[in-house]
Symmetry: D2
Subunit: 144 residues, 4 copies
């Protein structure tokens, strides 16, 4: 799930710039880009009052947003700077209650495509390899 | 999808109180409870900078959060005041780009259960019956 | 979920003919078409040794096949005679163990489309309105 | 996705015996067990008239059945001889049209559990590493 040999079609700095320009709520929400490779992207979300939920855990919608962003990065790593790529479907299973600590979302593309790309995202605490959630989803890529 | 004859096991006022107490980010995020019936719940989210996304539309994670909350309400409408009920899986399809206007999430339970409850949520603009997203999901209910 | 006013773009007799010609295993497997409307289709599967599973119930793959076929019919009811329409994703939840009796799959389209169509399928025993499974899915429609 | 060091809780020969005894349609349908490890299982399905579909490809329900069986094996590899474990939900994405050749379904458990186990299945042609479908799902395990 780390960067592979082929460089991404969108450099990590350019992805960060794209998010800041088009989705300022990403940074404001405590999300950050950790890594990008060809067909892969790792995002991180900080634990905060905003992302927490009853019972001292991270909320489901926060994990969904993390999966969605990581998959977005993985898609753009292959198609380049296409901000208007949009999620078409997402399936998420919550496997364990994560502690109130930073989470990583590690996305990789299983089926690249010019119009539709499909991938999966493993979510885990930053300091623990055991997955707390797993998502799969499809992005639709607008064609110029 | 409107309230049915049997009254909900959790009154709408008690559900609002539960959300305010256990998930203050719900109200802060612009979400509100519109209706509850036995096995059904309608939630609303306002359109704001926080919920918007590139292209003048509502973000996917906002729609996920809306679906998740509406399903939560529908589950509690049958099992009562159980704040620690948690999403175990959720599948969402984004069908059309919604305009930047308030959205409703209308949830109904298809399989009630003491330990697991399953239902679906239709998401649409407040002033338009055409669905913009559709979700299905399971909640796990802790047993005392 | 019954036929609606607008007639289907593919008549029920033509759908049966299409299945017999392109997918003879459908009839051989005990599946039959019950009803078609604009955006809806009901399929039936008989209970047999082939469709049964340990514990005196209908197997999961049989219910998946029923959902897939009913959704196929609902898609063709709007796009007409396009045998090469294919499932692109399907999500199914098994809600209750059905008895070893005929099942109905009632599909309806939630999002028609020229390239992608999305819908849901409720599966129940022929003589019982309570759902035993629920599926949602997307079909990809080849463009001429 | 190959067998790991810890031996499976159900030997491959015992899994084959269980299938033959409780689900004779598995062998009759052309499915066979290829490999089992702790938390993993690979199943194979032959290409035949029964599994084919219009356009010279393997049918979606055949791929679903393959995923379901491989995940069943992966679950039993951790919980042992529990024939009545049942699928509770399954999500499948069809990524490419497979040719009419044997398929492998490679399952691995992402979340073991005494009551619920979750895993994923990669489906590919026997002679090609590129995935043609990807599934995730949950099994419910009856407790004695």
């Amino acid at each position: 799930m780390t960067s592979q040999e082929r460089p991404p079609a969108l450099a990590i700095a350019d992805f960060i710039h794209l998010l800041d320009e088009h989705m300022p709520q990403v940074r404001a929400g405590g999300f950050s880009v950790v890594d990008m490779g060809w067909g892969s992207c790792t995002m991180r979300v900080a634990a905060s009052e905003r992302t927490s939920r009853a019972g001292g855990t991270i909320s489901g919608p926060t994990m969904f947003a993390l999966a969605d962003l990581a998959l977005y990065g993985a898609v753009l790593s292959q198609v380049g700077n296409v901000p208007l790529a949009v999620t078409s479907d997402m399936n998420i299973h919550f496997l364990r209650k994560p502690p109130l600590r930073p989470l990583l979302g590690e996305a990789r593309i299983l089926k690249p495509g010019k119009r539709l790309a499909y991938g999966e995202v493993l979510i885990r605490s930053e300091d623990d390899p055991v997955p707390v959630a797993h998502a799969t989803g499809t992005y639709a890529i607008p064609v110029g």
